[in-house]
Amino acid sequence: MKTALKVLAVLVLGTLLGLAATWFTVFRGSPQGAVHDGPWSTNLTVGSSGTDIYTRAAVAVHGLLALNRGETIYYAAHEDSDGNKFDGRCTYLIAGRDPPARWWAITAYAMDDYLIPNPAHRYSVSKNSVTRNAAGEFVATISPKHFDRNWIPVANAPFLLTLRLYNPAASVAADPAHVALPTIKKVSCS
């Protein structure tokens, strides 16, 4: 009887520990093999098969039905270029040139991985919608306050950014840590 209770305790405790480890590594963590480029990070194994079980699980949780690297390369940012976590009460400037891809877009998501409700129903800036200066550079604004141009609205809450590169140049997959991607600077907080 005593032994049966001990066996039960081992099974219950072991199961809880095992599930807790899964929660922290897969659901709370980010895919292994991440490559960093400034505030942006990517994982080129996204969308391919035969990767390790952790990456596959994390991709299923965070990047379900993502395309492979030839079709799309996804970068994510959770913090600005100075390493501070994004705060939706603040205004940030995203500055740079068009990344080397047929098409690109920067989209803001709430921490539940869905689009952020806002009265303007805007969610991204893209190659087609962004306004550039004569030198081909653009500055986009992330802010809860209204901006007419190049504006990505956020709510007063933490958020993350996704940068999608559709049909990226071969150089991106070859060296994803050294792509000329936009910088993200915090300018003010309300």
């Binding site: 599930l19 379900l64 079709e71 129903h121 559709y166």
Partner: protein
């Protein structure tokens, strides 16, 4: 209880934890795909979803610049046939995922070669391939169940109506049983 007995129980607990952990990580993609399937409506039918916005739930991180058309497939009753016109002047792709979320096929508006997509997806292990028809692609699915996803980029809001109308012509369905039978052994 002796120290040795305690150690034995601790090792047993750890062994259970490791086994449960690995099994649950391994099973996670399959479980998530099951949830996706359950939310997607009837199998072997193309579902043309409206442009994603803040109310769109179900698939994480939807792109607000893309139009998604999805066909959850079940090859229990035979092969699947996907037909899709390619909207002009924009990025378009069709990709297929197995029941464990692995991406096993992808084609885009450039690689499709200037004609509508005609794709046959055979069940795993089926060898009676349909007769070769120029321009028609035939692939094998790694699992009986899976998902075909068509992405169409909205280049500009001005193009939306036209692009949306073209991508809604895409269809998917069980490939004609009579034709498949006629091809057996041939």
């Amino acid at each position: 209880m002796s120290a040795r007995a305690w150690t034995g129980w601790a090792v047993a607990t750890l062994a259970v934890a490791v086994a449960v952990h690995i099994a649950s990580v391994w099973y996670t993609p399959h479980a998530i795909m099951d949830i996706v399937f359950s939310r997607m409506g009837a199998a072997n039918v193309m579902h043309h979803q409206k442009r994603p916005d803040e109310h769109t739930r179900g698939i994480v991180r939807p792109s607000p610049d893309l139009l998604y058309s999805a066909c959850r497939f079940d090859l229990s009753n035979g092969a699947l046939e996907v037909k899709a016109p390619v909207p002009p002047g924009t990025y378009w792709s069709t990709s297929a995922f197995d029941a464990d979320t692995n991406n096993f096929f992808a084609i885009n508006d450039r690689t499709v070669g200037g004609q509508p997509l005609e794709l046959i997806i055979l069940p795993p292990g089926q060898n009676n391939e349909p007769p070769h028809i120029a321009g028609r692609l035939v692939i094998h699915a790694p699992t009986t169940r899976g998902l075909v996803l068509i992405r169409t980029l909205v280049n500009s809001n001005a193009d939306f109506t036209n692009i949306d109308a073209v991508r809604r012509q895409a269809t998917c369905g069980t490939w004609g049983a009579g034709r498949a039978d006629a091809n057996k052994g041939g």
